[in-house]
């Protein structure tokens, strides 16, 4: 449907005028959006909770019925009774009622605020026997006090000593987007999305850290728990609309219950669930987000004229001679022209006019016109919840449909059922089933993804009459066009066409089911048995059809042309290439848990004890099919073993393929207990203990087990008799300490080998993957936490403040070693480091103006996180390790884990060379400067941390009557980044350009005005790396951003006589960009060297009835 729409759009919407195009898009797409929306509303409003009775029969004699309404634990009665035909009445204070029935059938509805309504249908005369006994119970409110869900227990925030934040549904919906983790950013303290980091740590998919880092080389992701079980699937499978709340467990006492993988904190996600005795609730949400076009000019690149000038300089110096001499290597368009001039095939005038044509071109604009569009995301969600005394159910459906700025499509369907059944008063059963279907399809090439002769391109995409222009990606068109006497396939690439023939698709399905059986022995003791099974399977398909450059290139490379007969022998058959990969993630968890909860006099005890076994498996395989055609479906076998000469280079090689087969499995076995004792509600002591075992490969059995524990103390100061601060009615202190762990299953103590098969001779072989390190242990992380919770009178200001200190020991770290032992790496991983993290998290919620029509509230989240390496058992790490810009965790004793340093800068010399210091004296001996830096760092200055020390967000909400405006301003402060500048080695060899080129040193005297070195030849990569790592390129990264602005209107359902409980229309604008930055270069610290995310505008509706 959407591709059709695009075709329509491209023919109907003006191509050049972007404002018009956007409006046109909006119109076309909102039409699409409203149609299902309307249908949806019609369907919902037509339903009726009452049984419709068709025929009413009037009774000859009206019957008087009387009865009694019994309400458990109620002091008052006075129930409102309504009949379909006989009007209304009210029961008396003890519940007696009587009324006349004139028609049959009749429906009596008993209701009262706070009680679960009861409907009694009277069909026959027998139904009219008196007395009618009606039992009513209190209705469970959906919106009740927020609870902390640790995954094992649900407790009230004041019943836990640990540091936990809860993000409720309202806060989750302040942000838009299809990923639930994105929605917690800025809505709580301590949670930070790390941008611009390239570290290779395992399990670093989310980029999110809680209270900074706890490891150097171990996993960085927080543990994600969904509905009580560790979630191993793709986080994108979770439908944010279906989420009721997210609890972030920050300190060790909160997270140690999750054991060996909880060292980085735990994010507990809780789905919406129905409660017993809850009336039918249908809620829905529909929205659409449209994004502006990206600003390709925001990239700091050289202009086409400068690029051509630089290529001319390199050409004149003979830089391209190697490529020119080998005859086939692709050359950039200007170099082809310079070569033609050199060979006398062009005159100076012709050369200049051709170069001028390139100079006047605007590839970025062409690219935008050809390959970019306004991204659109649509999200629909519907949830139905209901509960009786014995059964509660919830059904959620979700549909997300997204179109990105390069026309890539992604879709997601979610369906979730959950049931709670009371089998007997002692036995209850809960089940849930989640289904996810998601798919993506590739779009058009993004800017920068296609190069020309390996360089930044400036060639046009189409000629004057709109025909695609060939781009030389690997080979020179003039070479390959004549190479095979016309017998080979076209060996050129056409960017405007190629994406149509190279399509990547992925699809993903997930089934997640769980069953829990709970048996209550007494009112304070119960036993829970739970089991969860998850299966996610994914497929990715890359289809390069016959016309794709990829397929043509592979076919040509392996073609064998008999030049005398002109017959081509195809080693890779004509046709397309289909690469497929499948992956499967399976997991199963079983749990047995005993819960104890009892009040004894003024004391109360809560305890759990249980055991849990987990098993998971990841399997994958890959395959390649050649000579593939879709319709009719054909493919051909190919020899993947034999060696065949490359048509151009002659090198004998095997046909490339993506055959693979993998299988990984892990197992964890855990025993845990957690208890808390509270005295008079004033003092609370808590503790937990957990022992984890895992199948770490190669470890001795003893090392597979890891005990973890925590203790906590809480004191409700404000409940003491001596407490007398009337303006501060709530004041609570708590302290915790605990140990959690980190385990990386890929690190082992023995020399572990991988089995495979030699492509050279098909002999099976075994490869040593890492050398033996018998001393390897699990990482350990201890954390102290001190917390104050407080509330001012009438809750005008509530908040919490916690300080923490964590100490990681036995951390995995790499250290340089004498690789004479094993040349496989110059670094070994050992338990070499200790780190320390400290900081605070503050949350403040203020009701600045309340009551009346105007309301103003402010939420502030403010965190500080400082980390440093305190021990490192390898002597060779000094400031020189931090020159690469702080993108990786690098342990240097006494400094933050992410830090940045720079060479001491001595300005440019009279020839435009950058100067550093050697033994304290200005120098341009870059090799010696690097050596001095490496040996004693005497010429390197430490600049500062490369990750924010202070971060947080400020949310202000203003409401006037039914209109609410809220906006979130986020900030990250106290850190530095390395800006990129021009590097001539990279410019020459890889065509990496930078706009600093235009202000480079060009003539003597320029050194007074500029710090950008001259362009010299021969190239000197050491000079480039010195300049790039000099302190002059390090700038403060502090920034303040406007994250989102939300405008919502609450429709007054009562007054407007809508059949809704609530109905909100909202408008959201996100990614509004930087509003203040400390650097003077206009750089966006979160999006260094890439295009910043474009602004998004969301229009949506949500409500319930």
């Amino acid at each position: 449907m959407w591709t059709d729409l695009l075709l329509v759009l491209n023919s109907h919407c003006p191509q050049k005028n972007y404002n018009m195009r956007m409006i046109c898009y909006l119109w076309l797409r909102w039409k699409m959006l409203f149609f299902p929306g309307l249908l949806f509303l019609v369907l919902l409003t037509s339903s009726d909770v009452y049984a419709q009775e068709n025929r009413l029969e009037k009774l000859a004699v009206p019957v008087k019925i009387s009865g009694k309404i019994i309400v458990a634990d109620a002091t008052e009665n006075g129930i409102y009774i309504r009949s379909k035909t006989g009007g209304t009445s009210t029961s008396d204070s003890v519940g007696n009622f009587s009324r006349m029935v004139k028609y049959l059938p009749d429906t009596l509805k008993f209701s009262k605020v706070g009680l679960f309504p009861i409907v009694r249908i009277l069909r026959k005369m027998e139904d009219l026997k008196s007395p009618l006994i009606i039992r009513m119970v209190a209705e469970v409110k959906v919106l009740e006090e927020v609870q902390v869900n640790t995954g094992y227990q649900r407790v009230k925030p004041n019943e836990i000593n640990g540091a936990v934040s809860v993000i409720d549904e309202r806060m989750l919906s302040a942000r838009t987007g299809t990923n639930v983790l994105d929605r917690i950013l800025g809505q709580t303290s301590a949670v930070l999305l790390n941008t611009g980091k390239t570290n290779s740590n395992p399990q670093n998919k989310t980029g999110i850290s809680i209270r900074g880092l706890g490891t150097i080389n171990g996993p960085l992701d927080p543990l994600i728990v969904l509905d009580g079980f560790i979630y191993e699937g793709d986080i994108n499978n979770i439908n944010p609309f279906d989420i009721e709340s997210v609890s972030v467990l920050k300190d060790a006492s909160a997270s140690s219950i999750w054991g060996a993988r909880a060292g980085n904190g735990v994010i507990v996600i809780t789905s919406k669930k129905a409660k017993l005795n809850q009336s039918l609730n249908v809620s829905f949400n529909a929205n659409a987000t449209i994004r502006s076009l990206p600003d390709l000019n925001s990239l700091s690149e050289m202009t086409v004229a400068e690029n051509i000038e630089a290529e001319k300089f390199l050409f004149d110096n003979g830089f391209f001679n190697n490529r020119i001499n080998n005859g086939y290597a692709a050359l950039s368009p200007a170099v082809e022209l310079f070569l033609a001039r050199r060979n006398g095939k062009l005159s100076d005038a012709e050369l200049n006019s051709k170069l001028d044509a390139f100079r006047s071109g605007n590839l970025k604009q062409d690219w935008l016109n050809e390959f970019y569009t306004h991204a659109l995301t649509q999200q629909y969600g519907l949830n139905i919840r209901s509960g009786t005394a014995k059964h509660a159910y919830s059904i959620t459906g979700g549909l997300d449909n997204a179109y990105d700025q390069n026309y890539a499509v992604s879709k997601r369907y979610n369906l979730r059922f959950s049931n709670d059944i009371v089998i007997t008063p002692k036995l209850s059963l809960s089940t849930s089933l989640n289904l996810t279907f998601a798919s993506t399809k590739s779009g058009r090439p993004s800017y920068g993804s296609v190069t020309y002769a390996g360089r930044q391109p400036y060639q046009f995409l189409r000629d004057a009459s709109g025909n695609p222009i060939k781009w030389a990606q690997t080979y020179r068109p003039s070479f390959v066009d004549t190479l095979g006497n016309g017998k080979l396939l076209d060996w050129n690439s056409y960017p405007t066409e190629d994406y149509k023939h190279a399509i990547a698709m992925t699809s993903r399905q997930e089934i997640l089911g769980s069953v829990a059986l709970k048996y209550r022995f007494t009112d304070y003791l119960d036993l829970e048995a739970g089991y969860q099974r998850q299966k996610q399977s994914g497929t990715n398909v890359q289809h390069f059809d016959t016309e794709s450059y990829f397929a043509r290139n592979v076919i040509n490379s392996f073609s064998q042309l008999n030049r005398s007969t002109g017959v081509v022998k195809y080693i890779v058959p004509l046709g397309g290439i289909l690469n497929t990969g499948t992956s499967e993630v399976n997991s199963a968890t079983g749990r047995l848990q005993l819960n104890f909860n009892k009040n004894i006099g003024v004391s109360s005890i809560t305890a759990i004890m249980g055991t849990e076994a987990r098993e998971g498996q990841t399997i994958g395989n890959g395959n390649s099919v050649y000579g593939y055609r879709e319709d009719p479906l054909v493919y051909q076998p190919v020899d993947l073993v034999g060696l065949y000469p490359h048509f151009i280079t002659g090198t004998n090689q095997q046909v490339p393929n993506s055959l693979s087969l993998t299988s990984n499995q892990y197992r964890f076995l855990s025993f845990y207990a957690n208890a808390s004792y509270s005295y008079k509600g004033k003092y609370r002591i808590s503790g937990s203990l957990r022992r984890d075992g895992s199948n770490v490969f190669g470890a001795e059995t003893n090392d597979k087990w890891k005990p973890l524990w925590s203790v906590g103390l809480g004191w409700s100061l404000s409940q003491e008799d001596f407490y007398d601060i009337p303006w501060l009615p709530v004041l609570r202190l708590s302290a915790t300490y605990g140990k959690s762990g980190n385990v990386d299953l890929s690190k082992t103590a023995q020399a572990v080998a991988v089995a495979s098969t030699n492509t050279l001779n098909n002999l099976p072989f075994i490869r040593i993957r890492g050398i033996n390190n018998p001393e390897l242990r699990w990482e350990e992380l201890g954390q102290y936490n001190l917390k104050i919770d407080f509330a001012l009178a009438k809750d005008r200001l509530t908040g919490s403040f916690s300080v923490y200190k964590k100490h990681g020991s036995d951390l995995y770290g790499s250290f340089l070693y004498d690789y004479t032992t094993w040349g496989g790496s110059d670094e070994l991983t050992r338990n070499v480091a200790d780190m320390e993290g400290r900081g605070f998290d503050a949350e403040l919620h203020s009701r600045n103006v309340s009551g009346g029509n105007f309301k103003w509230s402010t939420d502030l989240y403010f965190s500080q996180n400082k980390s440093k390496t305190v021990k490192y058992y390898a002597a060779n790490n000094n400031l020189s390790k931090l020159l690469s810009g702080g993108r990786e965790i690098t342990p240097v004793v006494g400094l933050p884990l992410y830090s940045i340093s720079g060479y001491r800068w001595g300005g440019l010399d009279a020839a435009g060379n950058p100067q550093g210091y050697l033994n304290g004296v200005l120098s341009t001996n870059y090799s010696a400067i690097a050596t001095e830096g490496r040996l004693n760092a005497g010429n390197i200055n430490y600049i500062g941390p490369a990750n924010p020390v202070y971060f947080g967000s400020l949310i202000n909400s203003f409401a006037y009557k039914n209109l609410t405006v809220s906006f979130n301003i986020s900030f990250k402060l106290g850190y530095f980044m390395k800006k990129s500048s021009i590097g001539y080695f990279g410019l020459a060899n890889s065509g990496i350009t930078n706009s600093d080129y235009s202000s480079r040193w060009q003539k003597p005297g320029d050194e007074q005005f500029t710090d950008i070195p001259s362009f010299t030849y021969p190239l000197n990569s050491l000079r480039d790396s010195f300049y790039s790592a000099a302190e002059i390129n390090i700038v403060p990264a502090d920034q303040i951003r406007l994250d989102y602005v939300n405008l919502s209107y609450h429709l007054d359902a009562e007054r407007w006589r809508f059949p809704f409980r609530s109905l909100d229309v909202y408008l959201n604008s996100s990614d509004l960009g930087v509003i203040w930055r400390a650097n003077k270069f206009g750089l966006d610290p979160d999006n260094l060297d890439r295009i910043s995310p474009t602004r998004g505008f969301t229009l949506g509706i949500r409500g319930s009835f």
């Binding site: 110096n317 190697n322 022995f521 055991t611 490969f697 002999l763 490869r767 050398i771 032992t821 040996l935």
Partner: protein, 456 residues
């Protein structure tokens, strides 16, 4: 109380669950492809890992420093300054990865296998496989120790080699053992001892040319003795090797010759290959597509010498090498082939005074390289010196770009050949005098820093 009873029962249940079957549950492999090597099959598997034992692991610094290739100044300017300095025989500061790390990887594997074999008793049933594994491990260690010694140690001089620093003779997989440079003579003796032991254990004909064999071990011994100027011993082992494998390709019509004029001339694992390895990429100076063959050397190939076509490709105005037995335009064969053994035997025979035998070996080889439509006129030698001159020229021409020129230069100069190497960079001329201390090439800087061993 009833609830107390149930609690006790449940607690017991949990404790029992704790005690039993944890061990089995946790003993599953975390990756089905992983294993802890223990068995003989595992050991053979490690030795069969051609990607780490044979391909891209032999040193190339010497090849880049020798005089068979040159690089034009304009091309050189597009290289990194490290490569430019190396081209000018300057002492450079270079780091991981390099020849040292490449070669010590197979040495680790060999040591690791030898340690595993010590734990694994040899018996009737496994004797054949056990012997082959042990022989292979010893051969690999000898092969790489020798290559490193040829490159990083001074040439063999009986009077000084007991004190000339050689390489680190690492004999264990334990990284806690400190690295120490052993004298050149000890390094060569170790390589000899390992190869001698290997020769007794290995099979005559291997399953694949990437596996060591008895012939390879003999050829290796001949190589070492030749380097040590012990021509009688080298002759003995060259002879032993050729008794097992003596095949030569006739460049006129051999099935292993894909085509003399093709971009790649020879088939991989051709019949001359005794033991297959490929050279590392190193500093990129010896990359066939970028380096040019010395003009005088090229001119010395007769027009009827098929190697002129088989080995060279005219690229603009210069020649590039395309005749590697690796069957690739970009990588170089650096293993052992029968042509090398013939030339070794020929040279040794000449040294031992058997001029006739020497020239017959040489002519036997050259005839196979000669165009069969033109009659081959056998080379004759006036005397020992003439024979040696002719044999050594042909040795250089036949074994081009196999990392043998550098050790040969060391050997010839120590015997008084007085060969001075010359490089022209722009207008500047650089010279490498005979027996220069630079012939022991500089070690990687980070190894000097980490291991605390002396630099050359």
């Amino acid at each position: 109380m009833n609830s107390n009873k149930t609690m006790i029962i449940l607690a017991c249940f949990l404790i029992v669950a704790m005690m039993t079957s944890c061990k089995n549950f946790l003993s599953l492999k975390s990756d089905s492809k992983l294993l802890v090597p223990k068995t003989l099959n595992d050991i053979q598997g490690i030795l069969d890992d051609a990607g780490q034992m044979n391909i891209g692991k032999t040193p190339s610094f010497g090849e880049a420093s020798a005089d068979d290739i040159y690089i034009s100044t304009s091309n050189l300017n597009s290289y990194s300054e490290l490569a430019r300095d190396i081209y000018a025989w300057k002492k450079v500061d270079y780091r991981y990865p390099n020849d040292w790390s490449n070669a010590y990887l197979p040495i680790y594997n060999a040591n690791f296998c030898l340690e595993l074999l010590d734990e694994l008793p040899r018996d009737e049933g496994n004797a054949k496989g056990w012997d082959n594994a042990k022989g292979s491990a010893l051969f690999f260690r000898s092969f790489y120790f020798f290559l490193l010694t040829m490159q990083f140690g001074h040439g063999y001089n009986a009077s000084t080699s007991n004190s000339d620093p050689g390489i680190v003779l690492r004999m264990t997989s334990d990284f806690n053992v400190k690295s120490v440079r052993s004298p050149v003579s000890e390094c060569l003796q170790r390589a000899l001892a390992d190869a001698t032991e290997a020769a007794a254990l290995l099979l005559e004909t291997p399953v694949s040319a990437v596996r060591p064999s008895k012939a390879a071990a003999y050829a290796q011994l001949a190589r070492i003795y030749l380097y040590m100027h012990n021509y009688s011993a080298a002759l003995n082992y060259a002879d032993k090797c050729l008794k097992i494998k003596a095949d030569l390709m006739d460049y006129n019509n051999d099935t292993d010759v894909l085509g003399l004029d093709l971009a790649v001339t020879f088939r991989k694992f051709n019949k001359e290959t005794i033991f297959y390895t490929e050279m590392g990429t190193g500093f990129g100076l010896h990359t066939p597509s970028l380096s040019r063959i010395d003009t005088n050397l090229y001119a010395s190939y007769n027009v009827n010498d098929l190697r002129r076509r088989a080995f060279f490709r005219i690229n603009a105005s210069f020649q590039q090498f395309k005749g590697s037995y690796s069957s690739s335009a970009s990588t170089l064969f650096s293993g052992i082939a029968t042509d090398e053994v013939y030339l070794t035997r020929s040279e040794c025979r000449a040294m031992e005074g058997d001029i006739e035998g020497a020239m017959s070996d040489l002519n036997f080889l050259l005839k196979k390289r000669w165009k069969n439509t033109v009659s081959y006129v056998p080379l004759i030698a006036m005397d020992k010196a003439d024979a040696l001159r002719k044999i050594r020229l042909e040795r250089r021409k036949e074994l081009l770009m196999r990392n043998l020129r550098w050790p040969d230069l060391k050997r010839y100069n120590l015997e008084g050949a007085g060969i001075t190497l010359e490089r022209n960079i722009g207008a500047t001329k650089h010279f490498l005098p005979p027996n220069s201390s630079y012939y022991a090439l500089p070690l990687p800087t980070d190894i000097i820093e980490e291991a605390g061993i002396p630099q050359n």
